[in-house]
C-alpha cells in the first residue's frame, strides 16, 4: 500500500472522526465535493452530519470553531488555501489566541492550512504563514514534512487542548509517499534529526526539509556531512534539539519558505545566538523566499523560494567560513 501525504491527512481526519465524537469538520467545499484537494474525500458519506460545507466566510468559520470548542467540541477547520486564513486573522489571533489566557477556558480546534508554493499558484495561493501565526501567543503551529508526521501530528493536534495551526504543504500532497501509515511518532513540540551530520546544521521544516536533504546529499558527494533538523513544530520551537545539533556542527543555516523579514528563521537564529553563542564557529545564516509577492510563472517561482541549489550555495558559503 502506498500512502501519500494527502492520504495521511484524510486518514487522520477519518480516524479522528471515528474515535472521537467531539470531532467535526467545517470548511468550504469539504462535504460532498471532498475538498479542493480531496483531503476530506468521502468523509461526509462516512460520517453523516459531521463534515459540513461552510459559506465563503473565513472569519465566521473560525469564530464558529471557537464557539464549538468552548462548548466542548474538537472542530477541524479546512482553509481552502493558507492564504485565505488572513481573512480569519482576527478570530485566530485575537479570539482563539487570547481565550485561554483571558478566561481559563481552552479552545481546542485545528485549522488546516494548505500552505506553500506550487507551479503556477501565484501570489494568493502559495503563502507560508507559520511565522505570522507563531508570532502570536496562545497558538500551536505545526509543519509536518513527512507522510508519517502529517498523519500523527494531525491526530495529536486534534487531541491537544489548544488551538493548532496545522500547516500542510501542497507540494507534498501528491508527491510525497510512504509505504504505510505510522503507528508511533515523536510528541508535538519535538524536532527530528532527519539526517545526521557533523559539518553544518540545516534547521528547516515542511517542503524545505526535502530541499535541504537534496542539498545535503549533493554536498555528501564532496565529503561534506550535513545535519538536517526537521523542526516539525514552528511553535513551540525545539530549541534543545537545535542547540544540540549546533553543538555537534558549530554552523547553522536556517531554511524556510516564508518571507525573509523576521519569522521562524530569525527566531531560531536569535535563540542559537542567545543561548548557544559559544557553540558557533561561523555566523549563522538563513535562507528564505524573496521579499516580493510569490510570482506566478514557474521560472520566477523557482527562483523566488529556496531550492536544493540555493541551499547548496548557502551551505558552501557557510562551510567556507
Amino acid at each position: 500500500m502506498n500512502v501519500t501525504y494527502l492520504d495521511a491527512i484524510r486518514e487522520a481526519q477519518a480516524k479522528a472522526l471515528a474515535q472521537d465524537e467531539r470531532v467535526f469538520l467545517y470548511g468550504q467545499d469539504i462535504a460532498g465535493f471532498g475538498g479542493a484537494f480531496k483531503a476530506t474525500k468521502r468523509l461526509a458519506e462516512e460520517f453523516p452530519g459531521r463534515v459540513l460545507d461552510s459559506p465563503i466566510s473565513e472569519d465566521a468559520m473560525v469564530g464558529l470553531a471557537i464557539g464549538a470548542a468552548i462548548d466542548g467540541m474538537r472542530p477541524i477547520i479546512e482553509m481552502q488555501f493558507a492564504d485565505f486564513s488572513s481573512l480569519a486573522f482576527n478570530q485566530i489571533v485575537n479570539q482563539a489566541g487570547t481565550h485561554f489566557y483571558r478566561t481559563g477556558v481552552p479552545v481546542p480546534f485545528v485549522i488546516r492550512l494548505p500552505s506553500g508554493g506550487n507551479k503556477g499558484s501565484g501570489p494568493f495561493h502559495s503563502q507560508s504563514l507559520e511565522s505570522l501565526y507563531a508570532h502570536f501567543p496562545g497558538l500551536v503551529v505545526l509543519m509536518p514534512a513527512t507522510v508519517e508526521d502529517a498523519y500523527t501530528m494531525l491526530l495529536d493536534a486534534v487531541q491537544l487542548d489548544d488551538p493548532v495551526i496545522f500547516c500542510e504543504h501542497k507540494l507534498l500532497y501528491y508527491h510525497l509517499k510512504a509505504e504505510k501509515l505510522p503507528t508511533e511518532s515523536l510528541p508535538i513540540g519535538k524536532a527530528r534529526i532527519a539526517r545526521a551530520g557533523t559539518h553544518a546544521t540545516v534547521v528547516t521544516a515542511s517542503a524545505m526539509m526535502h530541499e535541504a536533504l537534496k542539498a545535503a546529499n549533493q554536498l555528501a558527494e564532496e565529503s561534506w556531512d550535513i545535519e538536517v533538523v526537521d523542526l516539525r513544530s514552528a511553535k513551540p520551537i525545539d530549541t534543545d534539539t537545535i542547540l544540540a545539533s549546533v553543538a555537534r556542527t558549530g554552523r547553522i543555516l536556517c531554511v524556510a519558505e516564508s518571507f525573509p523579514w523576521g519569522g521562524l528563521n530569525a527566531e531560531v537564529i536569535a535563540r542559537v545566538v542567545g543561548e548557544g553563542f559559544h557553540l558557533l564557529d561561523a555566523p549563522p545564516l538563513r535562507l528564505n523566499s524573496r521579499d516580493t509577492p510569490i510570482p506566478y510563472h514557474p521560472n520566477l517561482w523557482a527562483a523566488h523560494r529556496p531550492t536544493a541549489a540555493s541551499i547548496t550555495t548557502a551551505l558552501r558559503k557557510l562551510l567556507g567560513f
Partner: protein, 421 residues
C-alpha cells in the same frame, strides 16, 4: 516539418499526475487547434487535453489507464513551422521528448495505477521529475565565504566557539600560534583547532608549574603593548670602589635601583602608564627587582626609593632577596611597582631585552661587567676599566627612543657618582 509535444497539462493546484482515460485521436489523424484529443482523470476531476495548434498526430505515447506526471509528453503533432511558432514552440523537435524522459519511461511500462499511487516504496520521497531543478541564477558573484575581519589569519580572529573551547581547555590565543588556519581569510576554524588539540595528545606532556603559568600570563598581557628597548654602556669602577668602601656592601643592583628612582623622580611621567588619552603618573616611586627562583622569577618591591638613601636600603634589600628565594615575601613587598630592575649580568649575559611587567612601563637591565681598555686623559694611556651594558625596555606609546635614551643616560650619570646615591 517540426514536431511539437502533446503535454499533460497542469490540472489544478498541487495536482502532480493524472490517468489517461480515453484517447480520441489516432496517428495520422488531422486535428485543429484547441481540439480535445484525450481525457484524463485526477482525484479531483476529469479533464480534456487539448492541442495548442492544428497539425497531424504523428505519435501517441500515452497508454490508456496509465498515470503521467504534469508536463509529461503524451504524444506528438507534426505542424508547420509557422503554426509551431504561433503556438510558442521556438525549438520544436525531438529534444523536448528527451527532456521528458521520465514520462516516456513510464509510458513504456504502463500500469493500472490510480492517481496518487507510486511504485517507489521509499519514505519521504519527493519525485524528482515533479520538482524543478533550477540552474544557479546567472549574474550572481561567486561565493568566497562569509566576511571575516581584515588580517584574520591564524588565531587572530576567534569565533565564539573557538573562544569557548579555548576557555574550556585553558588555552590562550598565543598557544594557537602554530596552527595554520583553513577558514576564510586563513582563520583557524574549530576543525583546525580540534585537529591541533588531538595532535598534541601524541606528544609527551608535563604540567607547567603555577609559577610558570603566572609568568606566562604576565608576559602575554605585557606584550599587548608596543615594546622597545634601548641600551648603552656604563663604567662600573666608581660604583665598585664605593661598594668596597661601604661597610654593608650594597649589591650593584641596589645602586641601579636607587639611580633609576632618582632619575624618574626628576620627571615622573616617564614612569607613568598610558590609559586612553591620559598619562597616569605614579603615586610613589616604588621599584621592583627581579629575583630568580625555582622555575620562575619573583619581583619584590621597595617603596619610595627616591626618598631612601642607598645605605639605608641595604639591609631591607638583602632581606627581600632572602624572602623571595624562600618564597616568603610579605604582602607589602609583592605589590605593584612602577619599574623593575633586572641584573641579567648575574647569568653572564651582557645584553638582553627584558619585558616590563604588564602594569609597568619600564624595565631596566644590567649586563655583566667586563674589563676593557679605556683611554685615561690623566695618565694619557689606556687603562683597564669595568664596563657593563645598561638596557631600558619601555612601552613605546609613552616614551620614544630619545626620551628613553635620556632617562638611561641620566641613570648612567648617577652611577658615576655613587656617593650621591
Amino acid at each position: 516539418m517540426p514536431r511539437i509535444p502533446i503535454l499533460m497539462p497542469q490540472l489544478g493546484e498541487a495536482i502532480a499526475e493524472a490517468v489517461v482515460r480515453s484517447i480520441r485521436v489516432k496517428p495520422q489523424e488531422r486535428v485543429e487547434g484547441d481540439q480535445e484529443v484525450m481525457e484524463v482523470e485526477t482525484n479531483k476531476t476529469n479533464m480534456g487535453v487539448t492541442v495548442p495548434c492544428r497539425g497531424k498526430v504523428v505519435e501517441i505515447i500515452a497508454v490508456l489507464d496509465a498515470s503521467y506526471p504534469v508536463g509529461a509528453t503524451l504524444g506528438y503533432l507534426e505542424v508547420t513551422a509557422a503554426d509551431a511558432a504561433r503556438a510558442g514552440f521556438k525549438d520544436p523537435g525531438p529534444a523536448r521528448g528527451n527532456r521528458k524522459a521520465p514520462a516516456n519511461r513510464r509510458a513504456a511500462e504502463p500500469t493500472n495505477a490510480k492517481p496518487g499511487e507510486s511504485t517507489a516504496g521509499v519514505h519521504f520521497q519527493v519525485h524528482e521529475e515533479d520538482t524543478f531543478t533550477v540552474a544557479e541564477p546567472t549574474g550572481v558573484r561567486p561565493t568566497v565565504g562569509l566576511p571575516v575581519p581584515a588580517n584574520a589569519t591564524g588565531a587572530t580572529y576567534l569565533s565564539p566557539r573557538m573562544k569557548a573551547r579555548m576557555q574550556e581547555l585553558g588555552l590562550n590565543a598565543a598557544d594557537l600560534s602554530g596552527i595554520a588556519g583553513t577558514g576564510a581569510g586563513g582563520r583557524v576554524t574549530v576543525e583546525d583547532f580540534e585537529k591541533f588539540v588531538r595532535q598534541l595528545d601524541s606528544h609527551a606532556q608535563s604540567d607547567a608549574s603555577p609559577m610558570r603559568i603566572a609568568v606566562a600570563d604576565a608576559m602575554r598581557r605585557s606584550c599587548l603593548r608596543p615594546l622597545a628597548t634601548v641600551g648603552r654602556p656604563v663604567l662600573l669602577d666608581r660604583l665598585l670602589l664605593h661598594r668596597k668602601q661601604s661597610p654593608n656592601k650594597p649589591g650593584p643592583t641596589l645602586y641601579v635601583i636607587r639611580a633609576l628612582a632618582m632619575a624618574i623622580a626628576e620627571n615622573t611621567a616617564v614612569g607613568g602608564r598610558l590609559v586612553g588619552g591620559k598619562i597616569i603618573h605614579p603615586r610613589s616611586i616604588d621599584i621592583g627587582f627581579a629575583v630568580e627562583v625555582d622555575d620562575g622569577v619573583l619581583v619584590p618591591i621597595i617603596r619610595e626609593v627616591d626618598n631612601k638613601p642607598l645605605r639605608e636600603m641595604v639591609e631591607p634589600y638583602n632581606q627581600l632577596v632572602k624572602q623571595a628565594q624562600s618564597r616568603k615575601l610579605s604582602l607589602e613587598a609583592t605589590g605593584t611597582g612602577i619599574a623593575t630592575v633586572t641584573n641579567f649580568g648575574t647569568f653572564g649575559l651582557v645584553w638582553a631585552t627584558p619585558i616590563p611587567l604588564p602594569e609597568q612601563n619600564l624595565v631596566l637591565g644590567l649586563g655583566a661587567g667586563r674589563k676593557k681598555p679605556v683611554w685615561s686623559d690623566e695618565v694619557e694611556a689606556f687603562v683597564p676599566a669595568t664596563e657593563a651594558e645598561l638596557t631600558l625596555s619601555f612601552d613605546h606609546r609613552i616614551l620614544d627612543g630619545g626620551a628613553a635614551g635620556r632617562l638611561l643616560s641620566r641613570v648612567a650619570d648617577l652611577l658615576q657618582r655613587p656617593e650621591t646615591l
